[in-house]
Amino acid sequence: MASMKIKYTKTERARQKKILKVSERMLPLFEAMEKSLMSTILTISERIDQIRAAIEKNQKAAEPWIAVMGDAWVDVAQFISVNDTITRPVVVAGIRVQQFERVDFMEMPVGEDTPLWVDDAILLMREQLQLMSEIRCLEEQIILLEEELLEVRARVKLFENRRIPNAKTAIRKIGQKLQDDERLTIATAKVVKTGAKRR
């Protein structure tokens, strides 16, 4: 405030009143946006937790037979890998993000002499890779939404702590100065009038 330079004019007072009006109208909008972003981030985090639980559940279900994946005869990694993660753009809480659709897998056909457990392992890996890809997409969404949240919070703070108080102070000071000037003008006019009468 100390460094704020104010022009003590009626035009400036009108300008500051306009700034105050706009700021008071914008603040609730930014506050609502902040709430919406926070709630969306929370929902996405909960979804990530759910997917992590599903991954854990699959892992637990595979525990009794996971030893077979150590099979010296088979390199199961060559049978399946992620080619691409297919997403589509959607608008979440006003932000354009990529939503997970599906995973495009690169799969090598299982030969007749391939051990049967490989089929089960491929199914498990498919499921886990799909869930992991979905988590990655959701984490990217959170990064974008958190960036936006930071900006919105900065704006809320700007309106709450700078723009609105500054405008109010400016309006008050300009008002006082204009009143003082008016009084001074009247007083001067009276002195001039009295002087003229005496003469």
């Binding site: 892992q59 595979a62 525990e63 009794p64 037979w65 996971i66 030893a67 077979v68 994946m69 150590g70 099979d71 010296a72 005869w73 199961v76 990694a77 399946i80 890998s81 299982v110 007749e112 002499d113 051990p115 049967l116 457990w117 089929d119 089960d120 392992a121 498990l124 890996m125 886990q128 890779l129 992991m132």
Partner: protein, 160 residues
């Protein structure tokens, strides 16, 4: 054969495959050794479908046909009808199923070598059983978990 340790299903392999191969190389004729090299419980070359290797090839063919039948049944969403493998195999988890199949192969190998003591057949069966034991030995939960993690989360693997 007498100098080789005896093998039983489920035990830790008492001898390395390389050691067995080097002993066999020193004891067998070049022709027999070449034939022994061709034999594997994992796969058989097409030219091994006759002579002494016929019964082993038949064993592998039977297994392959049953695996094909199980895979077909899964694709068609019906109950599989394996011709050779015991039905109980289908109810097990993938690890136990693999072990049961290997035990079935072991028993078939027992049948192949029965009554053929000190013959080349016995040497072939010994090699196949040793391969089965080494494969069984490779079924390791820690290693399996690593393999799964390396596929599901390759980034973590690179970081390690």
């Amino acid at each position: 054969m007498c100098s080789l340790p005896s093998l039983s299903f489920g035990q830790s392999p008492p001898i390395k495959l390389e050691e067995f191969t080097s002993i066999a190389k020193s004891q067998l004729s070049a022709k027999s050794y070449k034939m022994l090299e061709q034999v594997s419980i994992q796969y058989m070359e097409n030219n091994s479908k006759k002579g002494k290797l016929k019964s082993v090839t038949a064993l592998l063919d039977d297994l392959q046909q049953d695996l094909s039948e199980i895979r077909k049944a899964r694709a068609q969403n019906r109950q599989p009808r394996p011709a050779q493998l015991p039905g109980s195999v289908l109810e097990e988890n993938p690890l136990d199923r693999e072990k049961q199949m290997m035990q079935w192969q072991w028993e078939k190998l027992d049948a192949i070598e029965s009554g053929k003591t000190f013959t080349f057949n016995e040497v072939i069966v010994y090699k196949l059983k040793l391969q089965l034991l080494w494969r069984l030995h490779s079924f390791n939960a820690e290693r399996g978990a690593q393999v799964l993690a390396s596929v599901v989360n390759p980034a973590e693997r690179k970081e390690d």
